[in-house]
Point group: C3
Chain length 323, copies 3
């Protein structure tokens, strides 16, 4: 399939330097793009790749106009990464075969008491239980479960294996065993939310677990009962959010990070990968707690010293006193 | 739906202070409960919320009797959290629509050579393979796989996406490649076990992987081959238990924690979230290994110092000698 | 079922000391094997178990020949662990009932535009989308999704719940929200790859995510878009590989370990469990970054000191100056 650069800028704007009739047959990274492909440069760090690229056309920001034009056709856009994002959507809308299948795949198990918007798509082998609601334009790819009474807003995308509304992990200890606390709440998911493969969002114990508009969750994330995740927060793969944590809006949480239960995280907080949040965070900022990687032998020595760190501190104090 | 307080205490015991005929239409947390709702206070830390709560009735312990009665109706119970747990079950049993569907959902794939107790429920799109056994009253929610020869006891609850009995991760190295070790064991799960969404328990290499009675596993947990988890141990989400680890009874393992292979953990051991157990633990207690969270700039300085910690210790030693 | 030791060594080689006609009815670990069972000893650490074992026959290396013969029948092989691996396959091939079902289970949803080799097996409730290719002898156990355009080589084994080709996690920020970057690449998986239960491998943004021949992935692993994993690398459960990371050949990555995005890891690198790789690694070796486990009280003191480590270092420097 081929699309013309002129049609692209007519749709998305941007300043085309080059032949409007030139056709591209795909998008590709700078280093592998050929003369028939469109590429982009957003991170100035990769500028050296620009001159060497064989791409037919390159999307760049205003600062890269000169070097880009020096090598050939270019589209100059204020935010080249955003432009690239839109170009991928423009491309997909035109190149992907129209999905002409039924809106609810015949292999899906949708309870008659569920409410599925006629414009939503329920993929193969999904389960939508009684009382669940699926909003307009929302897509459940294959093998997604939306449990009883849970609601998904409009224009959401749930990837394969997602489980919405399994029971939260709630038990009362009694004579050495655990007695189940029935999880009577549900999950409420806003609009424009994307949820990665095999991610799980548990139903609330009494009140609901809430995912606000525009949240993006990667794969294999665990979201406990009664969590609230604020608007436009993005969370990377393997992260775990314990029960009743409240995460603000516009946060980013790195991969395999964790947030303990019953904490509150302010808006605009950024947590590094592999870091565990053990207390509430009231100030926007970037927070980290990662054991630095080292060759194993050095790590062993430092880890052994770490177990004596408190004692070392006392020894320094003693030295200071006796100075 | 409405239920009467008098009926609740007739079923569960407890000392009702208030009108036996008063009806409640749900359970709710203290801060959001309205006059038609039942709430509870178990953690004394939340006592300030008690006076302010608009709940129609509150479950409290004996120590909270006075402040509870000062605000209105109350049920006094020895263990208010346990009472609350039982109230959720009492509520669900009376309010949830009776599940009148078939015991094996027609979309489930159950091998004729599997043995499913007639009182068990196999949900939509589950797979139960040849030789698997599912005990009395056990429920497999949607999209659960129980592989060949694995057995699940009575009254268990397996949430969507659970995989019981995939092959353990076993390979012998040979000339730079890996040769598969067929996993000839199975998984044996006791009674009253709950397993969270998308959690995986691998089959044993030769002997079986064993989950004893009353174990509670949260979502997205990996349990390797030949692991044994003792009675009434509870493990939180994203945790990983490597092959041939033996975990005692009555342990709690925090979220995203890990246990290396071939270790033995005593009964009544509590491992914090995000902590890795690298050696056997023979003494009950609470164990932790978490890098403390900090603002990123402070973390960077401390992490850099940490890579020199062993050297710092030597420097302190030198200072002490020269004192 | 019973198999004769003579037939085993005729198939797999090795030096049998004992009766060729002796039959075994299974394989078992040294400590539980009975007179009718075959066992093995590869790790010399377990030698004390050898003398005590009641196994009918034991596979050992040349160094263990004497103690093994002292107790009874034995097979001496150069690499007893490899021999054991092959014995498990020999056993399974002869003892497991022949799988006579259809090659594509009737409950699987396979797009007419997918290409499935006639010798591949697609298990119950799998989804194979348009343009996907499944190679010769490859097995998809139950509930596996292979998304549009993704290809799986020959002799691969994908365990239940695996998701191949969900969208990579790619968004461009715009006015406080996230705009989706369509993921236009696919996933290409080589030959002889095994992928554990509920593991996810995302499709590339522009180019493909690539898993080379002989890679072994455990359960619940997240592999981000545009990752490349080199030949015969093995990765343990719960690990997370962020987007565009390149991992060399013959590496091992421990459980719950992580690799940040856009890094390059050389061949023959071994990363410990729970360790995060935050920079490229160009030298083969063993790398670790784990906070050492301690009893909680000691951990608290050391963790508090750790947050002052940089200051402590300055204090030591001051002491050294004033010496």
């Amino acid at each position: 399939m081929q699309l013309r650069l002129g049609d692209l800028v007519d749709s998305l704007g941007g300043e085309l330097h080059g032949d409007r009739q030139a056709a591209v047959d795909g998008l590709a990274p700078l280093e592998t793009a050929g003369p028939g492909q469109l590429s982009f440069l957003s991170n100035p760090r990769y500028q050296p790749q620009l001159a060497a690229s064989r791409a037919g056309c390159v999307i760049v920001g205003p600062a890269m106009r000169e070097p880009a034009l020096a090598r050939g056709a270019a589209i100059v856009a204020d935010d080249p990464y955003l432009y690239f994002a839109r170009a991928t959507r423009w491309w997909k809308a035109r190149s992907a075969p129209v999905d002409a299948g039924p809106h609810i795949h015949p292999s899906a198990v949708v309870d008659p008491g569920a409410e599925v918007d006629p414009t939503a798509r329920i993929g193969p082998l999904c389960v939508v239980e009684r009382g669940a609601r699926i909003g307009a334009g929302t897509v459940l790819k294959s093998r997604v479960t939306v449990s009883e009474g849970c609601s998904i807003g409009a224009r959401c995308l749930l990837h394969p294996g997602v489980v919405i509304g399994a029971d939260g992990f709630g038990f009362a200890p009694h004579q050495g065993a655990w007695e189940k606390i029935e999880q009577l709440g549900a999950v409420r998911i806003g609009d424009d939310v994307e949820i990665g493969a095999n991610t799980c969002i548990d139903r609330g114990a009494l009140a609901d677990t809430v995912i606000e508009d525009g949240v993006k969750l990667d794969n294999l994330i665990q979201v406990g009962h009664n969590v609230r995740i604020g608007r436009h927060t993005a969370i990377a793969g393997n992260a775990g959010i314990a029960g009743s944590a409240t995460i603000g809006a516009h946060c980013t949480i790195g991969g395999s990070a964790g947030i303990l239960g019953h904490l509150t995280i302010a808006d605009h907080v950024h947590v590094s990968s592999f870091s565990l949040v053990t207390r509430s965070i009231s100030k926007p900022g970037h927070y980290t707690g990662i054991f630095p990687l080292d060759d194993n032998a050095s790590w062993e020595k430092n880890a052994a010293s770490l177990k004596q760190l408190h004692v070392l501190r006392e020894r320094v104090r003693a030295l200071e006193k006796n100075r």
